[in-house]
């Protein structure tokens, strides 16, 4: 089908663009590796979350935080494209309209996957000891990829509505903070009041909890279905909004 081959061509284009963007590479590889190391070694010694190994506890939180931050690159590239002449060339060609957006989304998910793999690698080196089996890892990959898709479609909306690449990037700002107001870095039971209520009910908490439970081979409980519902729900809504904004913007 046309949309698949066009999206694949656009995906390759977006990957080339990523590889030539030092900021995107730093955000996808160097920063997450450093943050993982910092939290695992320095903060690990001063934090007691009731787990015998703080590194085992924070890997999912670090991954989500890094994904949110690195996905600003998608918002910026979408914004760059939409405000430059190249989009007119694509739109005047007999190709699928959304292929250019899908290309950016797929490239972003590919970058995010690399980010997650690097974080897990660094975590291993400094003492991460998961007890997951192959099937668990596959499920973890599915949960995380759905999360990445959800965040990336939100980034696409930011890229489409923002006037400049800088503001597209800063619109993603709130997403950087969300992982800290979740079960990512401390159990929600240690929080109080509104913060606790928010942390218990926001989408990142079930995503983190189910990932952590699968990694450490503990019961996932209702975190698994909740995380899937959240991610898929956000993907559907954000995709629909993005397509509408895209159509309106280019009318």
């Amino acid at each position: 089908m046309r949309i698949i081959s066009d999206s694949y061509v656009m995906f390759k284009r977006s990957m080339k663009i990523s590889l030539r963007n030092p900021d995107a590479i730093a955000m996808a590889i160097i920063v997450p590796a450093f943050v993982m190391w910092l939290f695992g070694t320095v903060f690990g010694n001063i934090t007691d979350v009731g787990y015998d190994n703080y590194i085992n506890f924070i890997v999912p939180g670090i991954i989500l935080q890094a994904v949110c931050q690195a996905t600003t690159a998608a918002a910026i590239t979408v914004n760059n494209d939409i405000n430059k002449g190249i989009i007119d060339r694509f739109r005047s060609m007999p190709i699928s309209k959304s292929a250019v957006l899908i290309g950016h989304v797929l490239a972003s998910v590919a970058r995010n996957t690399l980010t997650a793999a690097i974080i897990i690698g660094v975590a291993f080196i400094i003492g991460f000891r998961p007890e997951a089996f192959v099937a668990d890892w596959l499920l973890i990959a599915a949960i995380l990829i759905l999360f990445m898709l959800a965040i990336t479609w939100l980034a696409v909306i930011c890229g489409l509505v923002a006037k400049t690449p800088e503001s597209a990037g800063s619109m993603m700002g709130p997403l950087f903070i969300l992982p800290f107001l979740s079960s990512g870095f401390a159990p929600t039971e240690t929080m109080t009041g509104a913060v606790r209520w928010f942390a218990e009910n926001q989408p990142m908490t079930p995503i983190i909890n189910s990932t952590r439970a699968l990694m450490l081979n503990t019961p996932t409980e209702n975190a698994l279905p909740l995380s899937l519902i959240w991610s898929v729900g956000i993907i559907i809504i954000a995709f629909a909004v993005a397509v509408q904004v895209y159509k309106r913007k280019l009318a």
Binding site: V9, K16, R20, G85, I86, D88, R89, S92, M93, P94
Partner: protein, 310 residues
């Protein structure tokens, strides 16, 4: 020959500003059509509607038999757009840009096609450099090379020579002529009359949202036959006397040479004969006689002048 583009009563407004107020024209297959207009006349607006990037508020446009609003996909199959501002991917190299278009158009042996284009557009040396490092002229050439990938039936060129140096401009003109010789229909916009006059088979002048004049370059010249004669005499006194005798015609003295006068006529032989008879009867010797053909520039300025006077 059949019309490959047909535009009827096209209208387009931005908020309250009506840019196109019922524009109509037909373009024959394989011809070069020039849409001529000054800054802000609405040339780009028209090109964007025809290339399916924007929707008209009224009227109808068909390209290759397909309605641009109802069947944009079919229209896109037969057109290629080179917009006013270069539409290249700055991060990719020249070669990668060309290969990207080749892949999107599903052309076989994309690498070979890209290399051919790089050669034809004198971009071989810069083929592996990012387009962001290209000069304006190089970017323009890459832009057009991208548009020509896959031999489109119709190519839109929105002000293709604006910002080019004389050498590149002439190269562009040669390329446009060559495209038409190979059967491609060329739709170009320009602010330069000499460009339209030199290149186009058919010219339409867009002014204040309407086509104020159209036809072949020759048609446009006869449309407003403000031809005339330039007469030079041996003495200034003779020039003055001649001006008196010919006062039934508009006469102006040449600013540089007081022995020379310009007489405006309808451009037909009868009036020339009359001018000559009057002077011969008065025994005034003409040392030099030149017929003046109106240039497209005159036509353009006259039309705009008349519209503004109304």
């Amino acid at each position: 020959m059949e019309n490959i583009i047909s535009v009827k009563s096209l209208e387009k407004s931005f908020k309250k500003h009506q840019v196109l107020k019922g524009v109509s024209f037909e373009i024959k297959k394989g011809s070069i059509f020039a849409l001529l207009g000054s800054n802000g006349a609405g040339k780009t607006t028209a090109v964007r509607i025809l290339s399916t990037l924007s929707k008209p508020d009224g009227g109808k446009a068909t390209i290759c038999g397909h309605d641009v609003v109802r069947h944009p996909h079919q229209v896109r199959e037969c057109i290629s757009l080179t917009g006013q501002y270069a539409a290249v991917d700055e991060v990719l190299t020249g070669r990668e840009n060309l290969k990207l278009i080749a892949s999107l158009k599903h052309l076989p042996n994309a690498t070979q096609k890209a290399d051919e284009m790089l050669k034809a557009f004198r971009l071989e040396d810069a083929a592996n450099k990012q387009a962001s490092t290209y000069s304006g002229g190089m970017r323009r050439r890459l832009d057009i090379a991208m548009s020509l990938m896959g031999n489109p039936q119709i190519i839109f060129l929105d002000e293709p020579t604006t910002g080019l140096d004389p050498q590149n401009r002439i190269a562009m003109w040669d390329m446009v002529k060559e495209l038409a010789e190979n059967g491609t229909t060329v739709f170009l916009t320009t602010q330069y009359l000499e460009e339209a006059e030199y290149l186009a088979d058919h010219i339409a002048i867009l002014h204040e949202g309407k086509i104020t004049a159209e036809g072949t370059p020759d048609d446009l010249k006869t449309l407003l036959p403000r031809g005339g004669v330039q007469l030079t005499f041996n003495r200034t006194a003779e020039a003055k006397a001649a001006a008196e005798l010919l006062n039934e015609y508009p006469v102006t003295f040449d600013q540089e040479n007081p022995k020379t006068i310009d007489v405006t006529t309808d451009g037909c032989a009868a009036q020339f004969a009359n001018v000559l008879t009057i002077l011969t009867n008065a025994n005034i010797n003409i040392s030099q006689f030149t017929q003046k053909q109106p240039t497209l520039e005159d036509v353009f300025l006259t039309i705009i002048g008349e519209k503004e006077a109304q």
